[in-house]
């Protein structure tokens, strides 16, 4: 049965038919876009969006579903954030306020074995939190606070005692000690943080192990207007695959899920085999079969690989997470099979390595067309982006960084000049590289309108514009959260624009992101989504 939605405005992202005020949907697909006269005769008109602006459902090309589990603990981030249930968690401008929030959560959850918070970022406070801070949360119950990176966790004295780290503290810089010779409570780096997280029984907070956590991800997507999202770097555990199949198959599951298996270093042929086996279960709501390789770390964590060989503040170069040999093997196999691969390359040296490898592989295989996206790619400059263009690669840039960590990048990690050139959206577009922008949820909140705002304004959290020459227009930014990411996922034939034959995936907005002032884009309210013709209000 055909349904016609009338709207105040439809932004189609179809250059042949850029605006309309009616969309007709039948059996999950769009059958007409245009004026009232273009709609199928006799089809009932649904007026509920009559005062709304419809844009293509946002496509989030770099998110992680683990966030659903995190929201069942206590959010302790510097900036306000809305949870999956619509609760607004206020900003926390100081360490003390973070501790107060955690204390309240502990009191409200007296049965929790560990008082657990996430999202803490000491970069804004000039100091980290110590076990003394966390002992004020509770000096009898274990307390653990995961930092925003999820690579550091701070724990209190009872937690240190529970782990046996007070009597005989490990002799490693990852477990720094204070003047009293006892651990400060900070466990730095995954090598120290994850054993503690595991031993404290907190792993269920970091991975979506239950239905509630998984469904929370869907609610976050609807609130953000997202109708296709990635789980970029999932494991291939059979239990997770079973969860994917079960939850995305529910009638109330609102978002197309596109996982990419993260290489754990096994041989390329084996990766292909597990990806293909999993892809046999694909549906219109679940798209397995892609791969991800994490090449380096993060810039703010000083673990990204830089061409300069060291960081602005003198910190040594970052880490490789896979060998160049493994990356080459997987990419060679992917080129032969036409498989899609996403490569996390934060630092410019990581991006350069992948370009070096691909140039060699493509030269040896004339006619090969890489289906490859460089993810984050935050330090690609004109030269590197030009090489990506020549290879036909896509980039998914992390423009949100300018707001959250732009100041830290300018003062600490890479210095003012390179920070001003980070996430070079304008250069990528000028060179013809298909562009997406993303949140890396849970690293920053899933919110394509906010990502647009970042790419359009490049305003740091201190309110200054960083790298005005890399700002893009609102129209370009809208493309970078719809068609752009659809291209990176190879799904541009079915999502990313509103055109006849495509999926009826729509973001329903209160206002037009191309008409409001650029600095107001992030304030546009999202009414909800339509996915495959099914309507999902955000406040349901």
């Amino acid at each position: 049965m055909t349904t016609v939605y009338r709207a105040r405005l439809v932004r189609t992202l179809d250059p042949a038919n850029p605006t309309a005020d009616h969309v007709a949907v039948d059996d999950g697909r769009i059958v007409a876009v245009g004026g009232a006269a273009d709609m199928p005769a006799g089809a009932p008109v649904d007026e509920r969006f009559a005062d709304k602006v419809l844009v293509p459902g946002f496509v989030e090309g770099h998110t992680h579903t683990q966030v659903g589990a995190l929201w069942s603990s206590c959010y302790c981030g510097r900036f306000a954030r809305t949870g999956p249930d619509g609760t607004l968690w206020d900003e926390l401008p100081s360490v003390d306020e973070s501790m107060a929030r955690l204390r309240e959560w502990g009191e409200a959850n007296p049965d929790a074995d560990v008082i657990f918070g996430w999202g803490f970022d000491p970069i804004y406070f000039g100091r980290t939190c110590t076990r003394e801070d966390l002992d004020l949360v509770s000096d009898t119950r274990p307390v653990a606070l995961a930092h925003a990176s999820l690579h550091i966790v701070s724990i209190n004295t009872p937690a240190l005692a529970l782990l046996g780290l007070l009597d005989n503290p490990p002799d490693t810089p990852s477990v720094p000690r204070g003047a009293d010779g006892l651990p400060t409570g900070e466990l730095r780096g995954p090598e120290a943080a994850y054993p503690a997280i595991g031993r404290l029984g907190l792993l269920p907070f970091l991975f979506p192990t239950n239905e509630d956590a998984f469904l929370a991800v869907g609610r976050l997507a609807v609130r953000a207007g997202v109708t296709t999202m990635t789980d970029l770097g999932s494991s291939y555990r059979p239990e997770l695959l079973a969860q994917y199949a079960e939850y995305t198959g529910r009638e109330d599951w609102p978002v197309r899920l596109v996982p990419a298996f993260m290489s754990d270093g096994r041989p390329a042929g084996e990766l292909s085999r597990v990806a293909d086996e999993a892809a046999a279960a694909n549906t219109d709501m679940l798209r397995l079969g892609r791969l991800k390789i994490v090449v380096d770390g993060s810039i703010q964590g000083f673990t990204a690989r830089l061409r300069a060989g060291e960081y602005h503040n003198g910190a040594p170069n970052g880490l490789w997470y896979k060998t160049p040999e493994h990356i080459r093997e997987v990419l060679a196999q992917a080129l032969a099979e036409g498989r899609q691969v996403h490569l996390h390359t934060n630092g410019d040296q990581a991006s350069e390595l992948v370009l070096d490898i691909l140039e060699e592989l493509v030269a040896a295989r004339p006619g090969a067309t890489p289906d490859i996206t460089l993810q984050h790619a935050q330090m690609m400059d004109e030269g590197l982006l030009g090489r990506a263009a020549a290879l036909g690669l896509n980039v998914n840039l992390f423009a949100n960084h300018i707001f959250y960590w732009g100041e830290a990048h300018a003062s600490m990690t890479i210095g003012e000049e390179r920070a001003a050139g980070m996430d070079a959206c304008a250069t990528a577009l000028r060179l013809g590289v298909p562009l997406a922008i993303h949140s890396d949820e849970p690293v920053t909140p899933i919110a394509p309108l906010f990502a647009m705002w970042c790419a359009v304004n490049r305003i740091t959290h201190e309110g200054r514009v960083l790298g005005p020459h890399e700002r893009i227009t609102a129209e370009q930014a809208l493309h970078a959260v719809t068609m752009g990411p659809a291209i990176t996922l190879g799904m541009d034939d079915e999502v990313g624009s509103l055109a006849v034959g495509k999926r009826a995936d729509i973001a329903v907005l209160d206002d037009d992101p191309l008409a409001v002032a650029p600095e107001a884009i992030r304030d546009i309210a999202v009414w909800g989504t339509v996915t495959g013709g099914r309507v999902f209000p955000a406040d349901a």
Binding site: E191, P316, H326
Partner: protein, 284 residues
Amino acid sequence: MPDAPSPVPVLVIGGYLGSGKTTLVNHLLRSTSERLMVLVNDFGQSVIDAALVEATDGDVLQLAGGCVCCQIGDDLAGALQRAVEEHPDRLVIETSGVAQPAAVATSVAMFPGLAMDAVVVLADAERIRQSLADRYVGDLVTAQLRQADVVLLNRTDLVADPADALAAVGAVARGPVIPCMNGEVPPEVLTSVGHEASVEAALHDAGDLFWSRTLPAAGSPAEVMARLAAIPGVVRAKGFVQLPSGEWRLLQVVGARVTSTPWSGPTPPAAEVVVIALRPLQPS
């Protein structure tokens, strides 16, 4: 309350891709008398000698002599927890080619039920100079060697003169560098030092590479450690020193790693230390 079991000693085997880590693991499994638990990243990357495998059960290989081999996958912490529970004689961790062995040692240190014994890093004699100079991974290979307590310079049979590779590795390594072929060094060098007689017997097989003897260990732990540090090429040392208070301490040296821990076992017969060290290289 029964005493907690003593911590499981841990051997971390590091080194860049292709340096011979899996070969060393197989050599250890063939030559050890201990009940080892071996952690590898992935069975596809680390091929355990089929002759040693008695049964396969998902992520666990049952091996000859009560040893087991498990895949780490993406959960090192979980694998370490299992090692605490299973309490093998020794835990051997084969790291991935890009791993910083010191980071793996840190994870081990987060489990009081485990005790780091040694970080052994392999280098391929044929390729190490090139790897150290590589524009992408040169600093990683350097860091791996620097984090080693003991370096095994492997495949010396494939180069005309290992002196060049020895010099390149020696310039960055903190600990002794042992030349070898196919990772074949006496297991006592990689694991633990027992009685002098058995050490001598084991080292006999290693030809002229090592010497071993028992040295008196009078004085404070610091004084004894200083004397040991003055001996070139100490690979392993283990023994007891006595504090002026009469308390005994267990002194253990693994190349660059020196630990001194309070001793609560039976009173040692004497303050002495068994030392295994590399003989000075003969000029070739």
